[in-house]
Point group: C2
Chain length 240, copies 2
Protein backbone atom coordinates (compact mmCIF):
# COMPACT_ATOMS: atom_id res chain seq x y z
CA UNK A 1 0.00 0.00 0.00
CA UNK A 2 1.23 3.48 -0.92
CA UNK A 3 2.12 6.09 1.65
CA UNK A 4 0.23 9.36 1.88
CA UNK A 5 1.58 12.71 0.66
CA UNK A 6 0.83 15.53 3.08
CA UNK A 7 1.11 19.18 2.08
CA UNK A 8 1.35 20.96 5.40
CA UNK A 9 0.77 24.72 5.54
CA UNK A 10 2.87 26.34 8.26
CA UNK A 11 1.51 29.88 8.07
CA UNK A 12 3.44 33.15 7.69
CA UNK A 13 6.42 32.58 9.99
CA UNK A 14 5.51 32.77 13.67
CA UNK A 15 5.70 29.11 14.81
CA UNK A 16 2.69 29.72 17.05
CA UNK A 17 0.60 30.35 13.91
CA UNK A 18 0.93 26.69 12.97
CA UNK A 19 -2.40 24.89 13.22
CA UNK A 20 -3.15 22.02 15.59
CA UNK A 21 -3.58 19.80 12.54
CA UNK A 22 -0.26 20.73 10.96
CA UNK A 23 1.52 20.16 14.29
CA UNK A 24 -0.12 16.73 14.65
CA UNK A 25 0.78 15.60 11.14
CA UNK A 26 4.39 16.74 11.51
CA UNK A 27 4.72 14.89 14.79
CA UNK A 28 3.18 11.72 13.31
CA UNK A 29 5.14 11.62 10.06
CA UNK A 30 8.68 10.30 10.08
CA UNK A 31 9.79 11.62 6.71
CA UNK A 32 9.68 15.41 6.37
CA UNK A 33 10.48 17.18 3.08
CA UNK A 34 10.83 20.91 2.54
CA UNK A 35 11.91 23.34 -0.14
CA UNK A 36 14.83 25.59 0.57
CA UNK A 37 17.13 27.90 -1.26
CA UNK A 38 20.88 27.81 -0.76
CA UNK A 39 21.65 28.74 2.83
CA UNK A 40 18.39 27.43 4.26
CA UNK A 41 14.69 28.17 3.95
CA UNK A 42 11.91 29.45 6.10
CA UNK A 43 9.77 26.30 6.15
CA UNK A 44 12.29 24.23 8.10
CA UNK A 45 12.86 27.14 10.50
CA UNK A 46 9.15 27.70 11.19
CA UNK A 47 8.67 24.03 12.06
CA UNK A 48 11.96 23.72 13.98
CA UNK A 49 10.40 23.23 17.41
CA UNK A 50 8.32 20.32 16.07
CA UNK A 51 11.28 18.52 14.54
CA UNK A 52 13.19 15.98 16.57
CA UNK A 53 15.57 13.07 16.26
CA UNK A 54 12.77 10.77 15.11
CA UNK A 55 12.35 12.59 11.82
CA UNK A 56 14.21 11.89 8.59
CA UNK A 57 14.64 15.11 6.64
CA UNK A 58 14.49 15.40 2.87
CA UNK A 59 15.55 18.92 1.83
CA UNK A 60 14.54 19.94 -1.69
CA UNK A 61 17.15 22.50 -2.75
CA UNK A 62 16.08 25.01 -5.40
CA UNK A 63 18.70 24.98 -8.17
CA UNK A 64 18.29 28.74 -8.71
CA UNK A 65 16.64 31.59 -6.90
CA UNK A 66 17.29 35.03 -8.34
CA UNK A 67 20.14 34.23 -10.77
CA UNK A 68 17.73 34.25 -13.71
CA UNK A 69 14.53 36.19 -14.24
CA UNK A 70 11.45 34.00 -13.93
CA UNK A 71 10.66 34.34 -17.64
CA UNK A 72 14.14 33.27 -18.72
CA UNK A 73 13.91 29.91 -20.56
CA UNK A 74 16.97 28.71 -18.64
CA UNK A 75 15.04 29.24 -15.40
CA UNK A 76 12.04 27.36 -16.74
CA UNK A 77 14.14 24.37 -17.76
CA UNK A 78 16.11 24.22 -14.54
CA UNK A 79 13.09 24.55 -12.29
CA UNK A 80 11.02 22.10 -14.33
CA UNK A 81 13.76 19.48 -14.06
CA UNK A 82 14.06 20.21 -10.35
CA UNK A 83 10.34 19.61 -9.70
CA UNK A 84 10.43 16.44 -11.82
CA UNK A 85 13.30 15.04 -9.81
CA UNK A 86 11.83 16.08 -6.45
CA UNK A 87 8.50 14.48 -7.34
CA UNK A 88 10.32 11.34 -8.45
CA UNK A 89 12.23 11.09 -5.17
CA UNK A 90 9.05 11.53 -3.15
CA UNK A 91 7.13 9.08 -5.35
CA UNK A 92 9.77 6.43 -4.63
CA UNK A 93 9.20 6.82 -0.90
CA UNK A 94 5.41 6.84 -1.24
CA UNK A 95 5.56 3.72 -3.39
CA UNK A 96 7.54 1.95 -0.66
CA UNK A 97 4.67 2.67 1.76
CA UNK A 98 6.16 5.64 3.61
CA UNK A 99 4.13 8.76 4.34
CA UNK A 100 5.83 12.02 3.34
CA UNK A 101 4.95 15.42 4.81
CA UNK A 102 6.03 18.44 2.76
CA UNK A 103 6.42 21.58 4.89
CA UNK A 104 4.98 24.64 3.14
CA UNK A 105 5.36 28.30 4.08
CA UNK A 106 2.00 30.07 4.07
CA UNK A 107 -0.88 28.23 2.41
CA UNK A 108 0.14 25.29 0.17
CA UNK A 109 -2.46 25.98 -2.56
CA UNK A 110 -1.86 29.75 -2.71
CA UNK A 111 1.10 30.33 -5.07
CA UNK A 112 2.97 27.52 -3.31
CA UNK A 113 5.87 25.42 -4.64
CA UNK A 114 4.04 22.38 -3.26
CA UNK A 115 1.47 22.71 -6.07
CA UNK A 116 4.14 21.60 -8.54
CA UNK A 117 4.58 18.36 -6.59
CA UNK A 118 0.84 17.94 -6.04
CA UNK A 119 -0.01 18.09 -9.75
CA UNK A 120 2.59 15.41 -10.44
CA UNK A 121 1.63 13.06 -7.59
CA UNK A 122 -2.00 13.53 -6.57
CA UNK A 123 -3.43 11.27 -9.28
CA UNK A 124 -1.26 8.33 -8.22
CA UNK A 125 -0.99 8.58 -4.44
CA UNK A 126 -3.28 9.43 -1.54
CA UNK A 127 -2.83 13.07 -0.72
CA UNK A 128 -3.96 15.33 2.09
CA UNK A 129 -3.41 19.07 2.21
CA UNK A 130 -3.59 21.24 5.34
CA UNK A 131 -4.26 24.92 4.64
CA UNK A 132 -2.19 27.58 6.37
CA UNK A 133 -2.43 31.29 7.10
CA UNK A 134 -1.02 33.22 4.15
CA UNK A 135 1.95 35.54 4.48
CA UNK A 136 -0.21 38.47 3.44
CA UNK A 137 -2.67 37.76 6.24
CA UNK A 138 0.12 37.65 8.81
CA UNK A 139 1.27 40.95 7.34
CA UNK A 140 -1.98 42.91 7.48
CA UNK A 141 -2.70 41.53 10.94
CA UNK A 142 0.60 42.72 12.39
CA UNK A 143 0.21 46.02 10.54
CA UNK A 144 -2.97 46.49 12.61
CA UNK A 145 -4.95 47.02 9.43
CA UNK A 146 -8.17 45.30 8.42
CA UNK A 147 -7.70 44.60 4.71
CA UNK A 148 -11.24 44.45 3.25
CA UNK A 149 -14.62 45.75 4.42
CA UNK A 150 -18.20 45.23 3.24
CA UNK A 151 -18.33 45.06 -0.55
CA UNK A 152 -14.63 45.76 -1.13
CA UNK A 153 -13.07 43.90 -4.04
CA UNK A 154 -9.68 42.60 -2.91
CA UNK A 155 -7.00 41.74 -5.47
CA UNK A 156 -3.75 39.82 -5.06
CA UNK A 157 -1.28 41.21 -7.57
CA UNK A 158 2.10 39.60 -8.34
CA UNK A 159 4.79 42.30 -8.45
CA UNK A 160 6.19 40.50 -11.49
CA UNK A 161 3.48 41.98 -13.76
CA UNK A 162 4.53 44.71 -16.24
CA UNK A 163 4.17 48.35 -15.20
CA UNK A 164 1.05 49.04 -17.23
CA UNK A 165 -0.75 45.97 -15.84
CA UNK A 166 0.24 46.90 -12.30
CA UNK A 167 -1.20 50.42 -12.63
CA UNK A 168 -4.40 49.13 -14.26
CA UNK A 169 -4.88 46.58 -11.47
CA UNK A 170 -4.31 49.13 -8.73
CA UNK A 171 -6.79 51.54 -10.31
CA UNK A 172 -9.53 48.94 -10.53
CA UNK A 173 -9.52 47.41 -7.05
CA UNK A 174 -10.68 48.55 -3.62
CA UNK A 175 -7.98 46.72 -1.67
CA UNK A 176 -4.81 44.93 -2.71
CA UNK A 177 -1.87 42.83 -1.67
CA UNK A 178 1.28 42.78 -3.80
CA UNK A 179 3.21 39.55 -3.51
CA UNK A 180 6.53 38.57 -5.14
CA UNK A 181 7.76 42.08 -4.46
CA UNK A 182 11.55 41.76 -4.20
CA UNK A 183 13.33 43.56 -7.00
CA UNK A 184 10.00 44.68 -8.46
CA UNK A 185 9.58 47.28 -5.70
CA UNK A 186 10.53 50.35 -7.82
CA UNK A 187 7.99 49.49 -10.54
CA UNK A 188 5.30 48.63 -7.99
CA UNK A 189 5.90 51.90 -6.16
CA UNK A 190 5.59 53.86 -9.42
CA UNK A 191 2.35 52.08 -10.34
CA UNK A 192 0.89 52.75 -6.89
CA UNK A 193 1.80 56.42 -7.29
CA UNK A 194 0.10 56.53 -10.69
CA UNK A 195 -3.03 55.03 -9.11
CA UNK A 196 -2.94 57.54 -6.25
CA UNK A 197 -2.45 54.83 -3.63
CA UNK A 198 1.01 55.56 -2.22
CA UNK A 199 -0.34 57.07 1.00
CA UNK A 200 -2.55 54.07 1.75
CA UNK A 201 0.14 51.47 1.02
CA UNK A 202 1.99 49.62 3.79
CA UNK A 203 5.32 47.88 3.28
CA UNK A 204 5.93 44.65 5.22
CA UNK A 205 8.98 42.42 5.31
CA UNK A 206 9.35 39.14 7.20
CA UNK A 207 5.81 39.52 8.59
CA UNK A 208 5.30 37.70 11.96
CA UNK A 209 8.98 36.59 11.97
CA UNK A 210 11.70 37.84 14.32
CA UNK A 211 13.00 40.20 11.61
CA UNK A 212 9.55 41.69 10.94
CA UNK A 213 9.56 45.28 9.71
CA UNK A 214 6.38 47.22 8.89
CA UNK A 215 6.19 50.83 7.74
CA UNK A 216 4.13 53.13 5.52
CA UNK A 217 5.42 52.71 1.97
CA UNK A 218 6.17 56.43 1.69
CA UNK A 219 8.71 55.99 4.52
CA UNK A 220 10.47 53.15 2.70
CA UNK A 221 13.06 55.16 0.81
CA UNK A 222 15.39 52.52 -0.61
CA UNK A 223 14.66 49.83 -3.19
CA UNK A 224 15.96 46.84 -1.25
CA UNK A 225 13.11 44.44 -0.63
CA UNK A 226 13.62 40.77 0.22
CA UNK A 227 11.60 38.23 -1.76
CA UNK A 228 9.48 37.71 1.35
CA UNK A 229 8.28 41.28 1.47
CA UNK A 230 4.89 42.50 0.40
CA UNK A 231 2.74 45.60 0.17
CA UNK A 232 -0.86 45.83 1.32
CA UNK A 233 -3.38 48.51 0.42
CA UNK A 234 -6.31 48.35 2.88
CA UNK A 235 -9.82 48.86 1.55
CA UNK A 236 -12.08 51.70 2.57
CA UNK A 237 -15.41 49.87 2.32
CA UNK A 238 -18.40 50.53 4.49
CA UNK A 239 -17.82 51.06 8.19
CA UNK A 240 -20.92 50.19 10.21
CA UNK B 1 -4.66 49.09 34.09
CA UNK B 2 -6.88 48.21 31.14
CA UNK B 3 -7.42 44.68 29.95
CA UNK B 4 -6.37 43.56 26.48
CA UNK B 5 -8.76 42.98 23.59
CA UNK B 6 -7.91 39.85 21.61
CA UNK B 7 -9.33 39.20 18.17
CA UNK B 8 -8.84 35.47 17.73
CA UNK B 9 -9.11 33.96 14.25
CA UNK B 10 -10.47 30.41 14.38
CA UNK B 11 -10.11 29.44 10.74
CA UNK B 12 -12.72 28.03 8.36
CA UNK B 13 -14.55 25.56 10.60
CA UNK B 14 -12.53 22.42 11.32
CA UNK B 15 -11.48 22.85 14.98
CA UNK B 16 -8.12 21.30 14.15
CA UNK B 17 -7.41 24.29 11.88
CA UNK B 18 -7.20 26.54 14.94
CA UNK B 19 -3.64 27.80 15.49
CA UNK B 20 -1.53 27.04 18.54
CA UNK B 21 -1.65 30.75 19.39
CA UNK B 22 -5.44 31.02 19.17
CA UNK B 23 -5.81 27.91 21.34
CA UNK B 24 -3.43 29.34 23.94
CA UNK B 25 -5.18 32.71 24.11
CA UNK B 26 -8.61 31.11 24.43
CA UNK B 27 -7.38 28.87 27.24
CA UNK B 28 -5.75 31.82 29.06
CA UNK B 29 -8.61 34.31 28.76
CA UNK B 30 -11.56 34.02 31.14
CA UNK B 31 -14.01 36.22 29.25
CA UNK B 32 -14.87 35.01 25.76
CA UNK B 33 -17.09 37.01 23.41
CA UNK B 34 -18.45 35.89 20.03
CA UNK B 35 -20.89 37.04 17.40
CA UNK B 36 -23.83 34.82 16.62
CA UNK B 37 -27.07 34.97 14.76
CA UNK B 38 -30.29 33.74 16.28
CA UNK B 39 -30.01 30.01 16.90
CA UNK B 40 -26.23 30.02 17.40
CA UNK B 41 -23.15 30.81 15.39
CA UNK B 42 -20.16 29.01 13.99
CA UNK B 43 -17.49 30.75 16.07
CA UNK B 44 -18.66 29.29 19.37
CA UNK B 45 -19.03 25.87 17.76
CA UNK B 46 -15.54 25.85 16.23
CA UNK B 47 -13.98 26.68 19.62
CA UNK B 48 -16.27 24.37 21.62
CA UNK B 49 -13.59 21.89 22.62
CA UNK B 50 -11.46 24.72 24.06
CA UNK B 51 -14.29 26.15 26.17
CA UNK B 52 -14.79 24.95 29.70
CA UNK B 53 -16.40 25.87 33.01
CA UNK B 54 -13.71 28.47 33.71
CA UNK B 55 -14.85 30.74 30.90
CA UNK B 56 -17.47 33.45 31.11
CA UNK B 57 -19.24 33.77 27.76
CA UNK B 58 -20.44 37.03 26.26
CA UNK B 59 -22.56 36.27 23.18
CA UNK B 60 -23.05 39.20 20.80
CA UNK B 61 -26.36 38.50 19.07
CA UNK B 62 -26.83 40.07 15.63
CA UNK B 63 -30.16 41.94 15.64
CA UNK B 64 -30.79 40.97 12.00
CA UNK B 65 -29.32 38.59 9.50
CA UNK B 66 -31.17 38.31 6.22
CA UNK B 67 -34.42 40.15 7.08
CA UNK B 68 -33.21 43.29 5.33
CA UNK B 69 -30.90 43.68 2.36
CA UNK B 70 -27.48 44.99 3.37
CA UNK B 71 -28.08 48.32 1.60
CA UNK B 72 -31.40 48.92 3.38
CA UNK B 73 -31.05 51.98 5.68
CA UNK B 74 -32.94 50.08 8.40
CA UNK B 75 -30.21 47.43 8.32
CA UNK B 76 -27.48 50.06 8.54
CA UNK B 77 -29.07 51.71 11.58
CA UNK B 78 -29.77 48.47 13.40
CA UNK B 79 -26.32 47.04 12.81
CA UNK B 80 -24.55 50.30 13.63
CA UNK B 81 -26.37 50.51 16.97
CA UNK B 82 -25.58 46.86 17.61
CA UNK B 83 -21.83 47.36 17.10
CA UNK B 84 -21.89 50.51 19.25
CA UNK B 85 -23.53 48.65 22.10
CA UNK B 86 -21.29 45.58 21.77
CA UNK B 87 -18.18 47.78 21.77
CA UNK B 88 -19.51 49.62 24.81
CA UNK B 89 -20.09 46.41 26.73
CA UNK B 90 -16.62 45.14 25.91
CA UNK B 91 -15.05 48.51 26.75
CA UNK B 92 -16.59 48.37 30.21
CA UNK B 93 -14.92 45.02 30.86
CA UNK B 94 -11.56 46.17 29.46
CA UNK B 95 -11.74 49.31 31.61
CA UNK B 96 -12.22 47.16 34.71
CA UNK B 97 -8.95 45.39 33.87
CA UNK B 98 -10.35 42.21 32.33
CA UNK B 99 -8.97 40.75 29.11
CA UNK B 100 -11.60 39.93 26.48
CA UNK B 101 -11.08 37.44 23.65
CA UNK B 102 -13.43 37.78 20.69
CA UNK B 103 -13.78 34.54 18.72
CA UNK B 104 -13.74 35.16 14.96
CA UNK B 105 -14.60 32.75 12.16
CA UNK B 106 -11.94 32.80 9.45
CA UNK B 107 -9.45 35.66 9.58
CA UNK B 108 -10.46 38.62 11.80
CA UNK B 109 -9.17 41.34 9.43
CA UNK B 110 -10.61 39.79 6.26
CA UNK B 111 -14.23 40.98 5.97
CA UNK B 112 -14.75 40.16 9.66
CA UNK B 113 -17.35 41.55 12.08
CA UNK B 114 -14.53 41.96 14.59
CA UNK B 115 -13.19 44.88 12.54
CA UNK B 116 -16.21 46.93 13.62
CA UNK B 117 -15.23 46.43 17.26
CA UNK B 118 -11.55 46.95 16.55
CA UNK B 119 -12.04 50.36 14.94
CA UNK B 120 -14.04 51.49 17.98
CA UNK B 121 -11.67 50.11 20.65
CA UNK B 122 -8.12 49.85 19.34
CA UNK B 123 -7.22 53.51 19.99
CA UNK B 124 -8.19 53.26 23.66
CA UNK B 125 -7.21 49.74 24.73
CA UNK B 126 -4.32 47.35 24.15
CA UNK B 127 -5.29 45.05 21.34
CA UNK B 128 -3.82 41.90 19.85
CA UNK B 129 -5.12 40.13 16.76
CA UNK B 130 -4.40 36.53 15.79
CA UNK B 131 -4.85 35.81 12.09
CA UNK B 132 -6.78 32.73 10.97
CA UNK B 133 -7.14 30.61 7.85
CA UNK B 134 -9.85 32.11 5.66
CA UNK B 135 -13.00 30.23 4.72
CA UNK B 136 -12.04 30.44 1.05
CA UNK B 137 -8.67 28.80 1.76
CA UNK B 138 -10.35 25.96 3.64
CA UNK B 139 -12.63 25.66 0.60
CA UNK B 140 -10.05 25.46 -2.16
CA UNK B 141 -7.91 23.11 -0.08
CA UNK B 142 -10.70 20.60 0.44
CA UNK B 143 -11.73 20.99 -3.20
CA UNK B 144 -8.22 19.67 -4.01
CA UNK B 145 -7.60 22.73 -6.18
CA UNK B 146 -4.60 25.04 -6.07
CA UNK B 147 -6.13 28.51 -6.49
CA UNK B 148 -3.35 30.65 -8.00
CA UNK B 149 -0.15 29.85 -9.93
CA UNK B 150 2.84 31.91 -11.03
CA UNK B 151 1.72 35.36 -12.16
CA UNK B 152 -2.02 34.76 -11.71
CA UNK B 153 -4.00 37.74 -10.47
CA UNK B 154 -6.43 36.50 -7.83
CA UNK B 155 -9.55 38.51 -6.98
CA UNK B 156 -11.95 38.19 -4.06
CA UNK B 157 -15.37 39.30 -5.27
CA UNK B 158 -18.36 39.86 -2.96
CA UNK B 159 -21.46 38.27 -4.47
CA UNK B 160 -23.36 41.37 -3.38
CA UNK B 161 -21.98 43.38 -6.34
CA UNK B 162 -24.38 44.23 -9.19
CA UNK B 163 -24.53 41.90 -12.19
CA UNK B 164 -22.52 44.13 -14.50
CA UNK B 165 -19.71 44.55 -11.96
CA UNK B 166 -19.64 40.82 -11.31
CA UNK B 167 -19.22 40.00 -15.01
CA UNK B 168 -16.57 42.68 -15.46
CA UNK B 169 -14.61 41.37 -12.48
CA UNK B 170 -14.77 37.77 -13.67
CA UNK B 171 -13.59 38.75 -17.15
CA UNK B 172 -10.57 40.63 -15.83
CA UNK B 173 -9.06 38.17 -13.37
CA UNK B 174 -7.09 34.93 -13.65
CA UNK B 175 -8.50 33.34 -10.50
CA UNK B 176 -11.34 34.28 -8.19
CA UNK B 177 -13.21 33.55 -5.00
CA UNK B 178 -16.80 34.74 -4.58
CA UNK B 179 -17.73 35.37 -0.97
CA UNK B 180 -21.10 36.46 0.48
CA UNK B 181 -22.77 34.15 -1.99
CA UNK B 182 -26.10 33.21 -0.35
CA UNK B 183 -29.06 34.56 -2.26
CA UNK B 184 -26.74 36.13 -4.84
CA UNK B 185 -26.02 32.71 -6.37
CA UNK B 186 -28.30 33.13 -9.45
CA UNK B 187 -26.70 36.45 -10.43
CA UNK B 188 -23.20 35.17 -9.74
CA UNK B 189 -23.85 32.08 -11.86
CA UNK B 190 -25.12 34.23 -14.74
CA UNK B 191 -22.07 36.50 -14.55
CA UNK B 192 -19.72 33.50 -14.53
CA UNK B 193 -21.51 32.15 -17.60
CA UNK B 194 -21.14 35.52 -19.36
CA UNK B 195 -17.41 35.43 -18.58
CA UNK B 196 -17.07 31.86 -19.86
CA UNK B 197 -16.04 30.53 -16.46
CA UNK B 198 -18.90 28.21 -15.47
CA UNK B 199 -16.93 25.06 -16.24
CA UNK B 200 -13.97 26.11 -14.09
CA UNK B 201 -16.09 27.20 -11.10
CA UNK B 202 -16.42 25.09 -7.96
CA UNK B 203 -19.26 25.49 -5.47
CA UNK B 204 -18.42 24.96 -1.78
CA UNK B 205 -20.69 25.09 1.26
CA UNK B 206 -19.64 24.68 4.89
CA UNK B 207 -16.02 24.08 3.81
CA UNK B 208 -14.02 21.98 6.33
CA UNK B 209 -17.11 21.58 8.56
CA UNK B 210 -19.10 18.38 9.12
CA UNK B 211 -21.74 19.53 6.61
CA UNK B 212 -19.14 20.29 3.90
CA UNK B 213 -20.39 19.90 0.34
CA UNK B 214 -18.19 20.56 -2.71
CA UNK B 215 -19.21 20.17 -6.34
CA UNK B 216 -18.58 21.64 -9.79
CA UNK B 217 -20.86 24.66 -10.12
CA UNK B 218 -22.49 23.24 -13.26
CA UNK B 219 -23.76 20.34 -11.11
CA UNK B 220 -25.35 22.71 -8.58
CA UNK B 221 -28.81 22.96 -10.10
CA UNK B 222 -30.82 24.76 -7.42
CA UNK B 223 -30.42 28.31 -6.13
CA UNK B 224 -30.27 27.54 -2.43
CA UNK B 225 -26.91 28.60 -1.04
CA UNK B 226 -26.26 29.22 2.64
CA UNK B 227 -24.51 32.45 3.59
CA UNK B 228 -21.42 30.37 4.32
CA UNK B 229 -21.07 29.11 0.81
CA UNK B 230 -18.62 30.33 -1.77
CA UNK B 231 -17.42 29.76 -5.29
CA UNK B 232 -13.80 29.45 -6.36
CA UNK B 233 -12.41 29.72 -9.88
CA UNK B 234 -8.87 28.28 -9.93
CA UNK B 235 -6.22 30.04 -11.97
CA UNK B 236 -4.44 28.51 -14.92
CA UNK B 237 -1.07 30.22 -14.49
CA UNK B 238 2.24 28.71 -15.40
CA UNK B 239 2.87 25.09 -14.49
CA UNK B 240 6.55 24.36 -14.12
Amino acid sequence: MSGCLYGVGLGPGDPELITLKAARIISQTRLIAYFQKRGGGHARAIAASLMNGHHEELPLNYPVTTEYKADDPRYETLIHDFYEKAAGNIAARLKSGEDVAVLCEGDPFFYGSFMHLYRRLAQDYPCHVVPGITGMSGGWTNAGTPIAWGNDVFTVIPGTLDSESLARRFKSTDAAAVIKLGRNLPRVRAALAEAGLIDRAIYIEYGTMAAERILPLHEKLDDNAPYFSLIVVPGEGRRL
